[in-house]
Structures are given as structure tokens and as C-alpha cells.
């Protein structure tokens, strides 16, 4: 929960220039976000028009795109390939010169640091953390890089509180954001009409006093706090930080290092864009007479072959050695060296890797936490045994001979805030409660697609409109749609398994441009046993490939006949990381998962939705246990990599 610090001032949007003028005083040059060549880089800002007003970034592994016309906001683009080390620790910096004199004496002169006077405009919380880390690494130990110290001391820092996150951001997970805590002279939070401004140092306070601000209202402060809280919610789950150091160092022989090395190009892009990487080499420039040689400190990377080379050999000859070095340094040994993790969760290495390797995924596979953390981005209604919230039955639509979709209007709005893949427990007086995945969370209703399989479900489907039932939820871990942003998606539904996937499809279609190619394969028993027939055609018109197939044909059917795996086993999903969501009878999910794995979908990107005997839905009755998991609380959605061979095992 973010509490806005008391005494925030408000700078109207039209007076933003006043801030720029103040920053430029004393001959300072302002460095901030500027659009160039399809990305936002850090460059000189002379007026508010230089900032990327109205632009937003869409980032995902190996992909970065900017889109415009989103209004007037100046700081919606979260980051780009450059970080502030561009100015505090430049890529090429002459540091010394050496001269051999005719009398064989030698002269060594170090270059006196002469940094330009800069103001950094738009430093995010993760970047402040990166600057703190560099302060420790480059100037906080026994030996100090004087050039870095001079540049760092000379810069004025105007931070910007993030009100938007890219899908690659994971600052909250790394404990570095999104809230701006300290290290800034001034901090801005952008709202629609202007900026809340606060100061963090005496210099900043002096500047703030001279800005044409008024006191911020409580409404404005609440809006700012709310926006930042949303960013926190979006960036908090990716990395299980507790004990990561030891877990990672225990895995030096994990075969995954070799597997990621097969994808890794050792191109060093991740280290170049990383705001905390600091490895450099000395490059010599000599004149032809060999008298004067200038030494430059140049950005280097542990991924290059020369990095660990000595006469007679190389300490890290293989790509797997180098990837392991980088990941273990950033997420383990950095703690031993400098007392903090090296990663700040900015996500640049994920976006700017040319082949989309995602450190969050690699960590989850190489060093998973022992127990899955409890999920639940929302507060379920009636989340205690004995309580149910009231919902009123609305219209009923028959889908097939034994399945219908029932509309319910709950009293508690929490029941409407479900995410695709979550379920509810349905209770009726006199009948045992049972779990049903919602097939739609609407603005004022939920839809449950129910198969009349026994007395309780038949009872539900025979109630008239207006009757009341009890609901608990939304419960369980939803489909991780965030993982699919910027990637190709395969959705495989079997029979009634299409119901929990329907809200997933609708969520993708609502923001179609954020995803790559989307394929939905739907297998049903016969044409008459298909759900949502009209919607299937409509979805195909909206930019996803829909392939339907039935086990047995029916009258008038001119479509495909066969098994759903036949639509998948000739496709190649290995070229680019593809995310798969599968739901259907367990035997069908097993077959499909095997085929998808064979065709190149990695197990940590293959998600299934399981079903077990549930009586409470909230992990208290013990029925739905499966190995270490409670399916109601840790699932029902699981990644195949979490399940391992539990999935196909008899009697678990």
C-alpha cells in the first residue's frame, strides 16, 4: 500500500516548461527520454516537445514497439535500451595516457574527470536502485572510479514515479520499486492534468520552492497512489526472491544451463542494456610512432570470448559457462560481493535479447522456490467455510443436449472481478457445493457453463430465473495471460474444456495487438456437442485462427473429423517461444501436452487446468490435494514444469 508522502505539490501540465527552465540553470543540459529509430533513448531535452508525449511502449521478450496517439502524457513509455549508465559510466571514456620518452623514461597521466553538468529527467525507481548499486560497486568500496564519482555527484536527478508498467517489468518482485523512495532530488508523479512533485534533497527542495506549483489535493494524491499500486500489482510476482541466492548457487550443474545456451547467442545485448552491469576493458589507441598511447575504458561483457582469456586458455569457453556466470552473478554472487541483488527488475534484458530469453523464466526453471506462493490477485467473496454470497439466476442458454450456460447476477461485486481460469463454488440448499469455472466474468453478471452430470448440476440447471444460489469466489490461480504478451499463443480445448478458456479468448481479443499469432483448436465429440458455436465463428473473424474438429461426424457437417492432436502434430512451435493453454478431459490434456512438447512448446510455457474433488474451494477441507499442491488454491491452472511427472501418474 503506498501512502503518498504529506505535502506534495502540484505542477499543472501547461507549466511543465518552468521545470525545464529551472533544470537548465547554471548551464546544465537536461537528459531525458526521446524517440529515435523506433525506441525511446536518453538524449538531450530542450523543450517539452522533445519528450515522447502520447506514446506508449509494448515490450515482450525480444520485441519492442511504440504506439502513439494515447493522449498527452509525457512519461508513459517505461524505458528503452539505454539506461542512465550512458552518462554516469559512458561506453567509451578515455582515462589515461602513457608516453615512452626517448631516454626510456615513461610518463603516465590520468585524465582529470571533467564531466558535463547534467540533469537526469525521468529516472524510474528501478533506475534509482541501479544508481545506488553502481554507487556501491564503483565508489563505495576501497577503490573508487573517480570519473564515475564526478559524473554522479554532478548530476541532478528528477525521478518519475511509474504509473504504467511494461509486461517485462518486475521491480516489485526484486524489491526496487515501483515506489520512488530516495536517491532523487525531485520526484514527479504524472496525472492527467499535471504532476505531483516532491523533493528528496535540500537541492531539490530549493528547486521545488521556485516552481509554479500549488498544494496537491487529496484526490490527486489518491489517484497517484492508486496508479502506483496498480503498477506494484503488475510487477510483483515474477521472481521468488526469498532464498534465491542459495537456491541458484545449488544449481551450478543444472542441465538447464546447457539448454538455455542453445538459444543464447552470447551477443552481450543483455549486459549492454543492463543498468547495473559494469564490466569494462581497456582499449589502447597508439600513434604509429608508438610514443603516446591513450587508454580508454570501454564497456565489455562477460559473454565475449576474450573476457576470461589468459595465455594458454579460456576460463569460460562455452556459452553455457558465460550464461551461468551472468545469471549467477546478477542473482546470487552479487549479494556476496555488494550486499544486494544485482538485478533491479527493469526488464530490459528480456525485451532486448534478440531471441527473447526471459531471465524470470530461467530463474523459475533453474531455481524454483520449494512451495508455490499463494496466488490470488483479488479478494474472493465469502472466503470462509459456511459463507456464501447470494447470486440470482438469470437467463439459461442451451449449448448442447446436456450442457447449458447459465447467467448469474451476484450481489458482491468481488465475484465479478474474476480473471480467466478462476472458478467459483456453487452452493444450493440441500445439495453439496461444487466448483465450476466461470465461462465469462461480465460487468454485472457471471456465466457458468454447466454440464448436467449428476443431481446437483441437474438441480442447478432446472431452477427457474430469479431463484437464488450461493457463490464463493473467484477462486484459484488464473491463466497467466501476462506470460503470453508479445508471444504466439496456442489454445487447445476439448469438450467442455472450452468453457474456462472462453474468458481467456475474450481477454486476448480485447487487446489483440498485444499478442502474436493466436491459434485455437477445439475438439468435440460431434458437431452437436460443441459449445459457443456462434462465438467460434465470430472469434475467427477477429484475428485468431480457429480450427474445429470432431471425433465423429454429424448430419450436414463439412468440417474436420479426427482428433485435436492431429491439428497440432505437424506444426512447429519451436521457432519462437510459444505459450499454450490447454483444457479438457485429463486424458486429452495428457495427449495434447505430449504432442505440444514434442513440437517445441517448453513445459514452463504449457498451462493446463486440473479438476479434483473439491468441497470448500479454499484449501481447508484437504480433498483436492495432489502431491504438494492444493488444486483449489495453487491451481487449478498449473504449468507443466511445476507438475513434472505428477500429471500422468496413476493414483496421485
Amino acid at each position: 500500500m503506498v501512502i503518498a508522502p504529506p505535502g506534495q505539490e502540484f505542477l499543472p501540465r501547461e507549466r511543465f516548461d518552468a521545470l525545464l527552465d529551472l533544470l537548465r540553470e547554471g548551464g546544465r543540459t537536461i537528459m531525458g527520454s526521446k524517440m529515435r529509430d523506433g525506441a525511446v533513448v536518453l538524449d538531450e531535452i530542450t523543450s517539452v516537445d522533445d519528450l515522447p508525449g502520447g506514446w506508449q511502449d509494448e515490450q515482450s521478450p525480444g520485441r519492442y514497439r511504440l504506439t502513439g496517439d494515447h493522449g498527452e502524457r509525457l512519461f508513459d513509455v517505461v524505458n528503452g535500451p539505454m539506461s542512465w549508465k550512458q552518462f554516469t559510466f559512458p561506453p567509451r571514456q578515455a582515462v589515461a595516457s602513457a608516453q615512452r620518452n626517448p631516454d626510456l623514461s615513461a610518463t603516465f597521466s590520468a585524465r582529470t574527470p571533467d564531466p558535463p553538468r547534467l540533469a537526469f529527467l525521468g529516472v524510474r525507481a528501478c533506475e534509482l536502485a541501479a544508481l545506488r548499486i553502481h554507487d556501491r560497486v564503483l565508489a563505495g568500496g576501497a577503490f573508487v572510479d573517480e570519473d564515475y564519482r564526478a559524473r554522479r555527484d554532478g548530476a541532478l536527478v528528477v525521478a518519475v514515479q511509474c504509473t504504467r508498467a511494461a509486461s517485462t517489468c518486475f521491480c516489485a518482485s526484486m524489491g526496487t520499486g515501483p515506489e520512488v523512495r530516495d536517491g532523487h532530488d525531485l520526484a514527479l508523479t504524472e496525472l492527467e492534468d499535471g504532476f505531483l512533485v516532491s523533493s528528496g534533497t535540500a537541492d531539490g527542495a530549493r528547486l521545488l520552492a521556485r516552481l509554479p506549483t500549488r498544494r496537491g489535493t487529496t484526490a490527486e494524491e489518491a489517484a497517484a497512489a492508486g496508479a502506483v499500486a496498480e503498477v506494484r500489482a503488475a510487477t510483483g510476482e515474477a521472481v521468488a526472491l526469498d532464498g534465491l541466492h542459495n537456491r541458484l548457487m545449488d544449481q551450478l550443474d543444472n542441465p538447464r544451463w546447457g539448454q538455455v545456451a542453445d538459444r543464447c547467442l552470447a551477443c552481450a545485448n543483455c549486459t549492454m542494456v543492463c543498468p547495473t552491469c559494469f564490466c569494462t576493458s581497456s582499449a589502447l589507441r597508439s600513434d604509429l610512432n608508438g610514443t603516446v598511447t591513450v587508454a580508454e575504458r570501454v564497456w565489455d561483457s562477460c559473454f565475449t570470448v576474450g573476457f576470461a582469456q589468459v595465455a594458454g586458455g579460456n576460463f569460460r569457453p562455452r556459452r553455457s559457462d558465460r550464461y551461468r556466470q551472468w545469471l549467477t552473478h546478477k542473482f546470487a554472487t552479487w549479494v556476496d560481493q555488494f550486499g544486494s541483488y544485482g538485478c533491479v527488475g527493469c526488464g530490459r534484458c528480456v525485451s532486448w535479447c534478440p531471441v527473447g530469453i526471459d531471465v524470470r523464466e530461467e530463474l523459475a526453471v533453474i531455481a524454483p522456490p520449494a512451495v508455490q506462493p499463494e496466488r490470488g490477485a483479488n479478494r474472493p467473496a465469502a472466503a470462509t467455510p459456511g459463507r456464501f454470497d447470494i447470486a440470482t439466476l438469470g437467463a439459461l442458454r442451451n449449448e448442447t443436449a446436456d450442457t447449458s450456460t447459465l447467467r448469474l447476477v451476484p450481489r458482491d461485486p468481488a465475484l465479478l472481478a474474476g480473471l480467466p481460469g478462476q472458478f467459483v463454488m456453487v452452493d444450493q440448499p440441500g445439495f453439496p457445493a461444487f466448483p465450476i469455472s466461470a465461462s465469462r466474468y461480465g460487468s454485472d453478471h457471471v456465466e457458468l457453463t454447466v454440464r448436467a452430470a449428476g443431481p446437483a448440476t441437474r438441480a442447478l440447471l432446472s431452477q427457474p430465473t430469479g431463484a437464488q444460489v450461493g457463490l464463493r469466489g473467484p477462486l484459484g490461480r488464473p491463466w497467466p495471460l501476462q506470460r503470453a504478451v508479445g508471444r504466439d499463443v496456442v489454445i487447445v480445448a476439448g469438450g467442455i474444456g472450452l468453457a474456462p478458456l472462453r474468458p481467456l479468448v475474450e481477454a486476448i481479443l480485447a487487446e489483440r495487438a498485444r499478442y502474436g499469432s493466436v491459434l485455437l483448436t477445439y475438439g468435440a465429440r460431434s458437431p452437436a456437442d460443441r459449445l459457443f458455436v456462434d462465438e467460434l465463428s465470430a472469434w475467427a473473424e477477429r484475428g485468431i485462427e480457429v480450427a474445429q474438429i470432431v471425433d465423429r461426424s454429424g448430419p450436414g457437417w463439412t468440417g474436420r473429423v479426427g482428433v485435436v492432436t492431429g491439428l497440432l502434430d505437424q506444426r512447429d512451435f519451436s521457432a519462437r517461444p510459444t505459450v499454450a493453454f490447454v483444457c479438457g478431459p485429463e486424458r486429452m490434456m495428457q495427449t495434447v501436452a505430449t504432442v505440444l512438447r514434442d513440437r517445441g512448446v517448453a513445459p514452463e510455457r504449457l498451462f493446463v487446468s486440473l479438476e479434483r474433488h473439491m468441497e470448500c474451494g479454499i484449501g481447508l477441507c484437504g480433498h483436492c490435494q495432489m502431491g504438494p499442491f492444493f488444486v483449489c488454491r495453487d491451481g487449478p491452472v498449473f504449468a507443466m514444469s511445476e507438475l513434472g511427472d505428477l500429471f500422468a501418474r496413476e493414483g496421485i
Partner: protein, 271 residues
């Protein structure tokens, strides 16, 4: 290098376009200094002074493409203290190596009205396939600053700084935005050796690997990524260029060349 006399420097050419030799002349500001510090004994493109050796440093441009050149390179090796190959032809075979995939007779017949008069080997191969090479300068053409660094290092007696790393590092050092990640443009920078100063990405086009494959070039992974939204065969064609015969790129080039047919020989005079 002995200080008593300036080192004898030779520049010779096999099958090539001359561009790499020209790079030496492009070092306009340093040319006089080079001339003062080296004894330029053989450089037909620039000087009428000739010498058959011996050479302290011999810069060899071009690939071995004819029987005569195959013999010549052996003799040159014997007469050189340090043999330096310069350019894509000498280090990788060059674009002419695209005939190596069994196509030489067909291409020869297609280009020349009287192919029987042409004496070339079936393959155009890098110099290192024939003799030991001491130093390689990559590029098509080579980078003049790398050449200067080489000559300077030779004068000082230190190892020349020719980093074996991806073009990507230079792009990032110069603040260039990645054309692949931000624009979806096919770029071979991640598998290509640096040296050009990230020239092509500076103009928003993808690197086409004229400096050849770097160490640990992961061609398979990059090809798979690029191939995901390109027609089949397009990615292979990216590699079938000036350094396509270099071993990490060779398989892709072979596949690409398998789909190309030389135009039918018309037997007519060209326009």
C-alpha cells in the same frame, strides 16, 4: 619488428575486387606515416615498385580460385614472415565461394559464351584452407581503423586489438537502437564479428555478416528466431552472402544455393 630497418610490407591480390587493398590507400591521414615506418616493397595497385619477397608482413587479399593462385599462395607463404589475410574473400572465400556447392560448371556456362576458355577451380576457397595464416582482418571491405591498429601493433610489437565479439556490443556502445528488436528487421549482427563500427544498423538496415561469423556464433538459434515469421528459405538466403562459405554459415548457404539455378546460357552477346 627490427628497428634497424623498416619492415618490408607487401600487398598482393588473388581473386577479389581490390576493395581491401584500397582501404590501405583510404588511410589518407596516416599514409605518409605508414610509408615512413614501413618499406612498401610490393603494392601493384599503388606503386610500380615490385618485389617477389621476402616480406616481413604480407597482406593477402582474395580467395584461391584458379590453379595458378593455388600455386602462388604456397610460394607467397614461403616468402613471408607474417602472412595476414585481409577481407571476406581471403578469410572466408568471398561471394565467389557460392559456386562451391557444386554449381561452378553451371555458372561458368551461364556467364561465359565460351566457358571452355575459363580456367578456374571448382571451388573458391579461403587462404587458410591452403596455408597457415598468422592474422586475419575481416570485412568486406576491411575496416581501415582495424588495418591501422594492425600496422601500429606490428610496429610496437604488441598483439593487435581485434576483438572477437558480436556487432551488438558496438551498436549498444554507440547508442544505436536494435533494428531487430525494435523494427523486426533481419540482422545477423549477433553472430557476426565486430569491426565495422556497426555500420549497417546505423542506417536502419540489418547486418549481413560481411565480417564473417564470430566465435561461438549460434546460427541455429538466430535462424530459428528469424524464420518464425519469414517464408521458408528466406533465412538461409541471409547467410548465403560474402562470408557464406565460412563453416558456421555453410549449411544455410548450401540450402539457399540449392534453390538457385543459374540463368540458362543464351549464347548471345550481352547488351
Amino acid at each position: 619488428m627490427s628497428e634497424i630497418r623498416p619492415p618490408r610490407l607487401g600487398v598482393v591480390k588473388l581473386a577479389s575486387c581490390d576493395g581491401c587493398q584500397l582501404t590501405l590507400l583510404d588511410l589518407e591521414d596516416e599514409l605518409l606515416a605508414i610509408g615512413a615506418r614501413f618499406d612498401l616493397v610490393e603494392f601493384p595497385e599503388a606503386s610500380s615498385r615490385r618485389s617477389d619477397g621476402p616480406y616481413d608482413v604480407l597482406l593477402v587479399e582474395g580467395s584461391v580460385s584458379t590453379p595458378a593462385q593455388a600455386e602462388q599462395i604456397q610460394q607467397l607463404r614461403e616468402r613471408s614472415r607474417l602472412l595476414v589475410t585481409i577481407g571476406a574473400c581471403a578469410t572466408a572465400g568471398g561471394i565467389q565461394a557460392m559456386r562451391n556447392f557444386g554449381k561452378e560448371p553451371a555458372w561458368r556456362a551461364s556467364v561465359y559464351p565460351q566457358p571452355e576458355l575459363i580456367q578456374s577451380l571448382a571451388t573458391a576457397t579461403p587462404v587458410a584452407d591452403h596455408v597457415n595464416v598468422d592474422i586475419e582482418l575481416r570485412g568486406c571491405p576491411i575496416d581501415r581503423y582495424q588495418l591501422l591498429e594492425l600496422l601500429t601493433a606490428l610496429r610496437l610489437g604488441r598483439r593487435p586489438q581485434l576483438p572477437d565479439e558480436a556487432v551488438c556490443l558496438e551498436c549498444k556502445r554507440r547508442g544505436r537502437v536494435c533494428v531487430l528488436v525494435a523494427g523486426g528487421v533481419a540482422c545477423l549482427g549477433p553472430v557476426t564479428q565486430t569491426g565495422c563500427g556497426a555500420l549497417c544498423p546505423s542506417y536502419a538496415r540489418g547486418c549481413y555478416a560481411c565480417f564473417g561469423p564470430r566465435e561461438a556464433a549460434n546460427v541455429g538459434s538466430l535462424s530459428a528466431w528469424l524464420g518464425a515469421d519469414r517464408p521458408s528459405g528466406a533465412v538461409d538466403r541471409l547467410f548465403a552472402g560474402f562470408t557464406g562459405y565460412a563453416p558456421p554459415f555453410r549449411d544455410a548457404s548450401a540450402r539457399a544455393m540449392a534453390t538457385f539455378q543459374p540463368p540458362a546460357a543464351t549464347g548471345e552477346e550481352p547488351d
